[in-house]
Symmetry: C2
């Protein structure tokens, strides 16, 4: 199986402690040599883990002084949402899922704005990705469906040619796949997603002047998320 590396284990534990507040903001971390004893790994391994957390914005470090816990709400990114979700109440997890889908819709609105201006021919790659998604949707393998959905998003984002939209949307999409509860709710009935994509594609392949407004397109995605949240709430 996927034997995780020692460095990942150490980083995971510390990340979790920061996310849960066991290590308060501004607090000093134990020295590297001490952490090495605690986790029973070499100091170099501890350093690798701490380096990752620093890159994630969870720690700051000064030579001779030590590591300080930063305020992840100001310097963190979505990557650590999974650690943040662990141990929260069902109600809180539902609120998080709702917010996450809302953010996705807001970003999708920008993407759709741009796609409305693109010649239909440029959507060939999107059509292919959606057709692959339809195939995957029949497999009932949630992981495979989720992967195919990421491919659809990548195709859509590629057409926008906007690095900003790509770099903003990708983390949102990727974190969805790392929240099993939410991911299962999204793909519990993949046909819902297939229908939404078909509707979007049909609208965007119309002649440019006849395409629905961005608001009208957004309705399709809003309905999809509404279904997902209802499914999530009734558990």
């Amino acid at each position: 199986m996927l034997e995780s590396r020692a460095v990942d284990d150490v980083a995971e534990v510390l990340r979790h402690e920061i996310a849960r507040g066991v290590l308060a903001v501004g607090e000093r971390l134990a020295p590297e040599r001490q952490l090495a004893l605690r986790f029973e790994v070499n100091r170099g391994t501890v350093r690798a883990a701490l380096g990752r957390l620093e890159a994630e914005g969870l720690l700051s470090v000064r030579q001779g002084s030590g590591y300080l816990v930063r305020d992840f709400r100001r310097t963190g990114s979505l990557e650590l949402l999974p650690s943040l979700v662990a141990g929260r109440s069902a109600k809180e997890r539902l609120a998080i899922a709702s917010d996450l889908l809302a953010v996705r819709r807001q970003l999708a609105a920008l993407v759709l704005e741009r796609l409305r201006e693109v010649p239909s021919a440029a959507l060939a790659s999107v059509r292919r990705a959606i057709e692959d998604f339809e195939l995957a949707a029949q497999s009932r393998d949630v992981a495979r469906v989720a992967a195919a959905d990421l491919d659809v998003l990548a195709a859509l984002l590629a057409v926008t040619e906007s690095p900003v939209l790509q770099l903003c949307a990708s983390p949102v999409a990727n974190v969805l796949a790392e929240l099993p509860e939410l991911r299962d709710a999204i793909y519990a009935e993949p046909q819902t997603n297939v229908m939404a994509y078909r509707a979007l594609l049909a609208a965007l392949e119309l002649p440019r002047t006849k395409r629905p407004s961005a608001d009208q397109l957004a309705v399709i995605l809003a309905e999809r998320d509404r279904v997902t949240l209802a499914r999530l709430a009734e558990r």
Copy 2:
């Protein structure tokens, strides 16, 4: 001065090469030992740099096989936008700035939606942050103004109590401060920002039933960004 660490230098060079496409997606990186020779540092230092890039989603690694360049458009995040901006044409940089501000507005819309439902008393911390921002705005020190603006955002996000909004909005705000060109354009006339914040705060401190709609509030931010982009375009 700020003597950067060797590990940061190595990571920066490799990050830049990936962002610029010198290292193509799917390509294998040179082995660690070889990179150590190239950069004239220890292999452990190279490993630390590669570990950061892996955490940033730029590389994948398999023991015995090596490092592969991932598609940062799918697995990266906003952190690497600065590397992506370097070397682009003025026109492209303007499009990036425009997109970035558009994303910020979309996220701000969600934040304002929630703030409209919050009792005025909860906005005391926001008022304090805005007053500090007004003081900083008089200093004409762009870095200080930008820092105070981040404090305002943090206060706004804290009121929402939404970890998702916090983790989504922070990277956007932080990357703005790392793009000098855009940052200078935003704060060239700080009074513009002060006026916008005052208007927002006044609107949100009204009795809940008398507050303007989220759309009306969004207009204030849109106007602010319009000014910024005009300033950026005329250079």
